[in-house]
């Protein structure tokens, strides 16, 4: 039942009869999402499945972090880092966990300490400077 609706939705998207916003706001998708969440909750009694669900969550955090880095989204970057904390500590990387925690603490007070550094696209600007310096270093290294 869901599959047929989703298929027709997909076809409409491909044939450009509907825009991406309309499709992503469709009712079927939220129902499918609920169904998947239900399935995940059902699997939570199972130890092995729980491990793999945890793995899926970790890959989601990884994806979020990569997205934040590439789009220069500062808030998402901090959120991804704070979600990483628990797995860093669980894996026994204590020094990393400590550093990330201290980093988050100092970055959360960035707005008050250095208001000029955090102005929306400022992060992207700092980032692009950083990338150009890296490229310069790499080209020096190659020659």
């Amino acid at each position: 039942m869901y599959t047929k609706e989703a298929c027709s939705l997909f076809d409409e998207l491909i044939n450009k009869r509907k825009s991406a916003e309309e499709v992503s706001a469709a009712d079927v998708l939220t129902r499918i999402k609920d169904l998947l969440q239900e399935q995940r909750d059902l699997m939570k009694d199972n130890c092995t499945a729980l491990l793999w669900l945890q793995y899926l969550d970790m890959v989601d955090i990884l994806r979020m972090f990569i997205k934040a880095e590439r789009t220069g989204n500062w808030r998402l970057h901090l959120q991804a880092l704070s979600e990483m904390l628990s797995s860093l500590a669980a894996a026994g990387h204590n020094l990393y966990a400590k550093s990330v925690r201290l980093y988050l603490q100092s970055m959360s007070s960035l707005e008050t300490d250095h208001p000029s550094k955090l102005m929306g696209r400022r992060f992207r600007w700092i980032h692009s400077c950083y990338i150009s310096v890296l490229l310069l270093l790499a080209s020096l290294w190659m020659t």
Binding site: C7, L9, H93
Partner: protein, 134 residues
């Protein structure tokens, strides 16, 4: 420490130290590798990568490969969950089940699987089934 010990009006106080994205990602991938040790992830990855490369992936020495590998395995596990939730059978997967055969070729509309990821992902699916069902 150097910045903190400087006087407030010094030029160094304007510098903000950031944690590099690349090394953060590296340590996080290392985390995933060590948390999933012994779960069969190594064996799955050995189907698409050479055993020596898998060692590097799980210890996050090879970043690009590690990201690709984790996204592939993530897509495969997600496909399995979707196929179970929506009762859609996965093409290319021989499964002994009593469920009535559902409509084929439809799973990719629902799963968030990127099209180019599918060939190697299907190899991994066969190894995945016992992990989720037992």
């Amino acid at each position: 420490m150097i910045i903190m010990s400087e006087p407030l009006d010094s030029d160094l106080c304007k510098i903000v130290l950031r944690l590099g994205g690349f090394h953060t990602k590296m340590s996080f991938l290392g985390c995933i590798g060590s948390l999933m040790a012994g779960s069969g992830l190594k064996e799955i990855l050995e189907m698409i990568y050479a055993p020596n490369a898998v060692e590097h992936i799980l210890t996050s020495k090879a970043i690009a490969r590690a990201v690709r590998a984790h996204l592939l395995v993530d897509a495969a596990v997600n496909t399995l969950i979707v196929s179970k939730a929506l009762k859609v059978s996965i093409p290319g997967l021989q499964e002994k089940s009593d469920d009535p055969p559902a409509v084929e070729d439809e799973y990719d509309h629902d799963a968030d699987v990127s099209p180019h990821a599918r060939p190697s992902e299907e190899c991994t699916q066969k190894r995945h089934v016992p992990f989720l069902t037992n």
